[in-house]
Amino acid sequence: ALNANLRSMEWPWQYNFPPFFTLQPNEDTRNKQLEAWRNLALEYCKANKQFILDINEAYSCPLFNNKSINRKLSEEGIRTVVESLRDRKAANWVDTQKSKFYVFWHTPEEWGNLIYNWANANGMMNSVCTFFELSQGEDTANEEFHNLDEGLLLLALKSLESKRKAEIIQLDEETQGVKFF
């Protein structure tokens, strides 16, 4: 969902350049174009604290649809950008249908470290936290990962788990938690 409070983000010059929204045939030009798209996507998502983008809703998203110059990136174009981001581990599909994708303006590892540092600073070592507590609790209100998408939170905690810094606890369908070490 679109964040109503758009943080003031400066659009790069490419954004108001109509050919930017057309996938370029020339290889060199395309590479430059994709680089600009990657940076723009990451910056946009970071500024708006958006973790997931939906291709089906692309046309309501200012990132892919610049109404002022009446240009929007085609679906093929969006998928090319996504693949380009995925190659650099800066994005990944949320589902197998490939309609929604995460934009990793922080990688799962980075999210994991942010959460772990918060846990350490707040004396949560050897303690359990619910997922809810981490993403929506009052104690994390000022943290970057506040309101972190649940799927992304899980990826982040899994990366910590692989480093033996945390263990995910699944008691039943509803109860999900994590213990930090």
Binding site: N126, V128, C129, T130, K179
Partner: protein
């Protein structure tokens, strides 16, 4: 291949039952919080709605809404109390976990300390201390000898002077008789009078006694007046083989005192009838017991005794 298998094998879980309990409590707390947030949203909307109704002069409708709002506020208060209860329980569980850890570590520390003490056994310490004290006593004796009235130089000077005097006064003493090389023949032991000799000593027993450090061992002999008595003793074992000896008459008078003697023989006549007491004292020793071999020879009644040398 190893990597593939290693990936599937999960390491042992470090999540305890208490953790799961705490997690469930926290889950409950989260749900209550979410519920409260929802109520808060509803409350705000209703307040807004009530205001509008009042503006439209629909008092009754507004009143109903306000009643609902009041009820929800009370619910919120109740849930606050429940939250408190849950928070407290979570804190209690976490604190007991801390206590358990502290106790465990104290136990470990204790066990380690005990092990160290076992290695460092007391008997070894005593042995070392013993040897040190004996060494000190020995040193003390040597010091006493050396720090006598004369220094070694003085003693040497004395020796020289003695030799000079001897040379001046005595004739040549170069021709000393030769040391006999064979055993000289001894006269036969008289056969005829052993009874008389033996009669002098009608009672003679030898004993060994262990006198502990700082201790005194006393013995008693009841005799008639005029009886000849002879105490023979020798320190067989212990320290510097020395002992203090005291002999008391029946009325308590000290008739003999020996200081740090290693052996001795003291003969006396009992001038009155009664119990004579003789004591061996190891007071000079700090730790070492002394073993004293001794015998008290008591002669026959004076009327039957013969004179001896």
């Amino acid at each position: 291949m190893g990597g593939l298998f290693a990936k599937h094998k999960k390491p042992a879980s470090r999540v305890t039952e208490q953790d799961k309990a705490v997690l469930q409590l926290k889950q409950q707390r989260d749900k209550i919080k979410q519920y409260q947030r929802r109520i808060k949203g509803v409350l705000e909307k209703d307040r807004e709605m009530a205001r509008k109704l009042l503006q439209e002069n629909k008092r009754d409708r507004a009143k109903i809404l306000l009643k609902k709002k009041r009820y929800l506020e009370q619910l919120t208060e109740k849930t606050d109390n429940q939250l408190d209860g849950i928070e407290q329980m979570v804190q209690d569980i976490e604190f007991s976990q801390v206590q358990v850890e502290v106790l465990k570590n104290l136990e470990k520390g204790n066990a380690a300390l005990k092990k160290l003490h076992d290695v460092f056994s007391m008997s070894d310490v005593e042995k070392i201390m013993d040897e040190t004290r004996e060494g000190i006593e020995k040193q003390q004796e040597i010091d006493d000898l050396l720090s006598g009235n004369l220094t070694e130089d003085d003693l040497a000077a004395v020796e020289d002077e003695l030799n000079e005097i001897m040379k001046a006064n005595l004739p040549e003493v170069e021709n000393l008789p030769e040391v006999p090389t064979e055993e000289p023949t001894l006269p036969d032991i008289p056969q005829g009078e052993p009874t008389a000799v033996c009669a002098l000593f009608s009672r003679a027993y030898s004993y060994f006694v262990t006198v502990d450090a700082h201790a005194e061992e006393c013995f008693f002999e009841k005799v008639q007046a005029g009886t000849k008595m002879g105490l023979t003793f020798e320190v067989a074992e212990g320290g510097f083989l020395d002992i203090d000896v005291k002999i008391y008459s029946p009325d308590g008078n000290l008739i003999y005192e020996g200081d740090r003697e290693s052996n001795g023989k003291f003969a006396f006549a009992a001038d009155k009838e009664g119990v004579y007491r003789y004591c061996f004292s190891n007071k000079m020793s700090t730790m070492t017991p002394k073993i004293v071999m001794f015998s008290m020879d008591v002669g026959e009644k004076p009327a039957d005794a013969k004179e001896e040398d």
